[in-house]
Amino acid sequence: MDTGRDEDMQPTRDPQATLSELVDALLNKGVYLDLDLVITVADIPLIGISLRAAIAGMETMLEYGMMNGWDERTRAWVRDSVARQVLLRPDEDVVAGMAGGYYWQDPSSSAATWRQGRIYLTTERLIVCRREPPEVLWQAALGAVSGLELRTEPSVGGAIRTRLLVRTDDGAAALLSAAEPARLKDLVRNRLDGTGQIAAGAPAFGSSQAGDGAEEPDTLLFKGDLWYQEIRATGPVWRGGTGRYDVQEGFTWQDPRDRRPAIRLQPDEITAAGIESAGTDEARLPAGISSILILGTAEGTIRLASARAEQWAMLLRGVSRAGRRDTGVPEVDDAES
């Protein structure tokens, strides 16, 4: 890389400039001691309100109803934080939570209005509550829920919104708004069906995406587990993730912990797609994977591993430039210069 050494960027350590990152690092990173062995940890529950936003990832888990996959400490934190708004009964556990609201109709007049807050699904109830000041806006015991229905209607602003209509066995019906109405319906439905274990044991890794098959676009042709060999200063490292081939997006690979796909190739950027046997040095590959998918691109060769490497190779060769013109990887042509 030819950049003037004098102009190289220098990192800054100024605590004022780095405070938010430092707070993030000390709240979310660093070593936790093993809970069972030694410790009383109070990492999250008692910190200031806006800093709590730093744990947005946890909110996402909650939205997907993945509480079951959490350790007891995290669940205890969620219980504590919910308990500030709603009094939970002993043995009542939070299953899922998301932003939402309740369409409140004033019984004494015809006035009606949306009251926004958070929706919690617990092991016993469906609750809409408000944080400040804490107030339960609406609730129903799960045992009393007799019907769940998604409804679309224009919002005040004119956009089409999906709402969840909850019928209860006293003949009443409540209209709820939710960040993810369809998912909320499924979560409540699963609870009512007694399955309850919506994402029990699901690995934190990847399951938030995987849980949402219904939302995959029609343009997605092929998707599967794929390991990508990233080249580090210390050598190659295999990373787990998901490969997708979408007619619009092209071929992508993403580790769900990453913000964006680390591979993004349109068909005409793939110059070759072939298979190699995994060498004995591929010790860190998951067991049972014997073939490596090799993709040629203008910027170099990409190595991916999958139990379905052959299928990936066929697909990508078919759509790629190589497949259409039947040329191989372009060789670096330095002999003729």
């Binding site: 890389m1 950049t3 050494r5 102009e7 190289d8 960027m9 220098q10 990192p11 800054t12 350590r13 605590p15 400039a17 780095t18 405070l19 938010s20 990152e21 430092l22 707070v23 993030d24 690092a25 000390l26 709240l27 979310n28 990173k29 660093g30 070593v31 936790y32 001691l33 093993d34 062995l37 030694v38 410790i39 009383t40 940890v41 109070a42 990492d43 008692l46 910190i47 200031g48 309100i49 806006s50 800093l51 730093a54 744990i55 947005a56 990832g57 990233e230 080249i231 580090r232 200063a233 210390t234 912990r257 990453d258 913000r259 964006r260 796909p261 680390a262 591979i263 993004r264 910027e299």
Partner: protein
């Protein structure tokens, strides 16, 4: 926590250190070392209260004071495993906190020592690359046309068009960010020993994040990362780059052997 104090833990350091000037910790409390044999030692203070809790400003100050201790240990010991904020060892099982902590240090000694060794002379750098959405969309003919049109419209219409313009610019910047991410990640990865994405990143206004990542690099490689970032800044006019560090390896302190499964 009643009569017998808990121990607030700042960091684990190699035990075989010459007299370490520990100094003071949060709220100027004196620090001490808890060690088990010759293995790694924990830097702690005696804590008789509940975990730290309070207004954001207080929490931020405590976190800075915590990080100052970690920094000091890091400078003197050359390697450190920073603890998260508010990790407190409580007395229990009929043992004082110091005995429980020492027991844990003894049991985890080899794993901790291995990790401390691996992190020696390594630093954490934080890199945040985002795109100024207006610059990213600057050359787009549709955006240019819309901007032009806006000039001649009444204020109310302008407001609506500005919203549309913002959406268009954001969309263009998003697509560009998607194309740039693989390349930037690959370039930084070849210079780094480990990488960790920051998922709680805040977002500068009117910009789209490309990548927000912590890098583990040997101290000697900081210049190379700076060079790569300078090159990126020169290539992409819409790029906004924040480059922080060198820090103790907060994002890489995890000891997988201690948390099986």
């Amino acid at each position: 926590m009643t009569d017998s104090p808990g121990l607030y833990v700042y960091a684990v350091i190699p035990g075989s250190l010459p007299a370490l000037a520990l100094g003071t910790g949060i709220d100027d409390v004196p620090l001490k070392l808890v060690a088990a044999g010759g293995g790694p030692a924990a830097v702690v203070h005696e804590h008789r209260r509940a975990p730290y809790s309070g207004a954001d400003d207080d929490v931020q100050r405590w976190i800075l004071e915590h990080s100052n201790v970690v920094e000091r240990c890091w400078e003197q010991a050359g390697t450190v495993l920073p603890m998260s904020f508010n990790v407190i060892v409580a007395p229990g099982d009929g043992m004082p906190a110091s005995a429980r902590l020492a027991q844990w240090l003894a049991a985890s000694g080899p794993a901790l020592a291995g990790r401390l060794d691996a992190l020696r002379e390594r630093v954490e750098l934080r890199v945040e690359i985002s795109l100024d959405q207006q610059l990213a969309a600057g050359d787009d003919p549709e955006v240019a046309a819309l901007r032009e049109e806006m000039q001649h419209r009444p204020a109310g219409v302008q407001r609506l068009l500005r919203k549309r313009l913002d959406g268009m610019e954001r969309g263009i910047a998003e697509r560009l960010a998607g194309r740039l991410y693989p390349q930037y990640r690959r370039r930084l990865a070849t210079l780094s020993e480990d990488l960790a994405e920051n998922r709680h990143a805040h977002q500068p206004p009117a910009s789209v994040s490309v990548l927000n990542i912590a890098l583990l690099v040997p101290r000697s490689a900081v210049t190379a990362i700076g060079g790569e970032l300078s090159a990126i800044a020169a290539e992409e006019q819409a790029a906004q780059i924040r480059f922080l560090g060198p820090w103790p390896p907060y994002s890489f302190a995890d000891v997988p052997e201690l948390n099986p499964g």
